[in-house]
């Protein structure tokens, strides 16, 4: 079966991303838009586009019935859900299939299994996937708890099972601290949550977030496209992702990728998926969760392997056998993705809004900007603050970092405060450059990531530019240029 028309049930950059591949494959694309998105490119550049009306998300991008109706009305034979929204919603997947439309994603059974955080771990334990060691049992005697803690191995985390906010939590590094910590956690739990039940987990110091890209077809092929390092996060939101993961031996890389493949095989997975692991600094890793969809950060994998993951998704959905052998997939060079958010990192990451006067175009080689906006469009308050992803490829990690910093100067998002400068500060941090990444990187380096004060000379330049802009082109000797300004705005002075 060949897919002839895809409805993209999403918005912004990911809708455009799917559109791009579909065009390359000669497949027609229909998109949908909420009325407040009607000027955005995903509503403008598809072969056809349909309004979902106004109102709450449940009336627009999350309205399953409306989306299936649009697909039927426009004759789409497949739906791509993108990421977020309905991409991991088993009811939607079922509704789509029941309407005789192909869902470009996994089976509803896989979505259910991996959506259940406890159930998925139980299923994976059976096929020997490493899980964070822990004791969650009802036997709460001190003897049992001590025995379990020793079995897990130090350091362990003891926490009140009803707990939260750090109350009733103890990190234990050695035998001598154990009993006292169990008693402490129990009494705090009792005081704060009226329960002295505690649980014990392996404590991972400075953990890394490492994930593996998977792609499975319906002919028994389960492939991995190597790992991604996504430790640079703020409030559990990824900010910078890259591949290959720095400071990781090839043996460990192949081992973690094989573990992910074992999961795909073990649950007979279909389509694109990502297994997320938590990795200790010593290289021990534990399964965290599996995302049964395309990830935001999939482009870094595409840049180093050369494969189009959306194309693979579409082929799998058509029932094709993937014409790729595992040994043909190789990592070449380094790719880094920066998420450009409409937010002020120096004011508690407060989201920002406004009109984007000009986005800017990256001009260096092997740089990609996946962006859901156009010059002149508005950033409002109703959706995720991610404006775009800047993805940069370099021959090695050092070059990739340099190119990323340079390219951030070219994507201005003039008019809306973004985290652009903050991203440059992270990329220029010595620990980032050394590849010393872990999930507490941003809070741990808070002081060093403060803005660099403007030099008097830079400040004067900003003021002069501002003053000129406030006078209506009343100068005498100036030359008005009529070309597109952003084709020439490539070499901002540094």
């Amino acid at each position: 079966m060949k897919i002839k028309k895809i409805l993209v049930a999403n918005r912004g950059e990911i809708a455009l991303r799917v559109l791009k591949t579909a065009k390359e494959m000669g497949i027609k694309v229909a998109t949908v838009y909420a009325e407040d998105d009607k000027n955005l490119p995903h509503a403008l550049f598809a072969d056809e586009s349909y309004s979902l009306g106004m109102g709450a998300l449940s009336e627009t991008y999350l309205n399953k019935t409306k989306l299936v109706d649009v697909a039927k009305r426009c004759g789409a034979d497949a739906i791509h859900p993108g990421y977020g929204f309905l991409s991991e919603n088993e009811d939607f997947a079922r509704m789509v299939e029941a309407a005789g439309i192909t869902f470009i994603g996994p089976t509803p059974e896989s979505i259910v299994l991996m959506g259940d955080k406890i159930g998925s771990k139980k299923a994976l334990e059976k096929i020997s996937i490493p899980l964070t060691p822990g004791y969650h049992g009802d036997d709460q005697t001190e003897e049992t708890l001590m025995k379990e803690a020793k079995k897990i191995g130090y350091p362990v985390l003891i926490k009140a099972s009803a707990g939260g906010g750090g109350k009733g939590m103890r990190i234990v590094h050695q035998d001598s601290e154990l009993l006292e910590s169990i008693r402490g956690a129990k009494s705090e739990g009792l005081k704060s949550f009226s329960s002295d039940k505690v649980l014990i987990e392996k404590y991972v110091l400075n953990p890394r977030h490492i994930e593996v890209q998977l792609m499975s077809d319906t002919h028994g092929n389960h492939l991995h496209f190597f790992e991604r390092e996504c430790s640079i996060q703020r409030r559990y939101q990824k900010v910078i992702e890259e591949t290959p993961a720095p400071n990781m031996s090839q043996d460990l890389r192949l081992k973690i990728c094989q573990t992910a493949v074992d999961i795909a095989k073990g649950i007979n997975y279909r389509g694109a998926g990502t297994v997320e692991f938590i990795m200790a600094q010593d290289g021990h890793y534990y399964f965290m969760e599996m995302n049964t969809r395309l990830q935001v950060e999939h482009p870094v994998t595409e840049m180093v392997t050369g494969y189009d993951l959306v194309k693979c998704q579409i082929m799998v959905a058509q029932g094709d056998k993937l014409p790729i052998k595992q040994e043909e997939i190789k990592q070449k060079g380094q790719a880094i993705e920066c998420r450009i958010y409409a937010e002020d990192p120096d004011n508690n990451f407060m989201p920002t809004i406004g009109k984007i006067d000009a986005i800017g175009v990256p001009t260096l080689r092997d740089v990609r900007l996946d962006c859901g906006f156009l010059d002149g469009t508005e950033v409002g308050v109703n959706y995720d603050p991610m404006l775009a992803k800047l993805i940069v490829w370099g021959e090695d990690r050092k070059l990739a970092i340099t190119k990323t910093i340079q390219s951030l100067d070219e994507v201005l998002f003039l008019g809306v405060k973004t985290n652009r400068d903050y991203l440059k500060r992270i990329l220029g941090h010595q620990d980032f450059i050394a590849g010393q990444t872990h999930t507490h990187f941003i809070p741990d380096h808070k002081a060093e990531l403060e803005p660099v004060e403007l030099k008097a000379h830079d400040l004067a330049g900003l003021i002069a530019s501002y003053c000129f802009s406030q006078k209506k082109a009343a100068f005498k000797s100036g030359v008005e240029v009529s070309s597109n300004p952003w084709t020439t705005l490539t070499s901002f002075r540094n």
Partner: protein, 162 residues
């Protein structure tokens, strides 16, 4: 002439400010600066200064009277102290927007009596409604925005006078 700008929330005073045709000059922290405008197109311009030419970009003014300026790889939010509209930001002690949003409904207009905790207006953000409540008993002295307006996070929306 002295002129005061507000850059990223901080006052910046420059001396001997002159803006004639296509030149701007002033002194700042004992240094003299002289710029001439070489060309301008839309938001972009090319400036000339003794260290060489450079490109700059300036956004349209927001309704708060601020512009984003990018020059020399640095970025700032600028306004003129004299021109800056008194909307929001400057008022201490008012009721601020917890995040950017749209003014959805005004329940207690100007001059209404309110009790502490009563909802004065509703802000819609991320498709959710946020009640902005009176911080004390008193009268609504001012509401700085109209229904339907988009507001940034952290700006003063209303003031209550006891």
């Amino acid at each position: 002439m002295e002129k005061t700008f507000i850059l990223n929330g901080q006052e910046v005073k420059v001396q001997d400010f002159k803006h004639a045709h296509d030149t701007v000059s002033f002194s700042y922290q004992g240094q003299n600066y002289f710029y001439s405008l070489i060309s301008r197109d839309g938001h972009e311009m090319i400036l000339d200064e003794k260290n060489g030419r450079f490109k700059a970009a300036v956004s349209t003014l927001s309704k708060e009277g601020e512009a984003m300026v990018i020059a020399g790889g640095r970025e700032g939010i600028l306004s003129e102290a004299s021109k800056k509209l008194k909307k929001g930001a400057a008022h201490a002690g008012g009721l601020k927007s917890p995040m950017p949003g749209k003014i959805f409904k005004i329940l207690k207009p100007h001059d209404s009596d309110v009790k502490k905790g009563e909802t004065i207006l509703i802000l819609e953000a991320m498709k959710m409604e946020h009640a902005i409540r009176a911080d004390k008993d008193g009268k609504v002295k001012k509401i700085f925005f109209n229904v339907g307006e988009l507001v940034q996070g952290g700006v003063v929306l209303a003031e209550v006078e006891s």
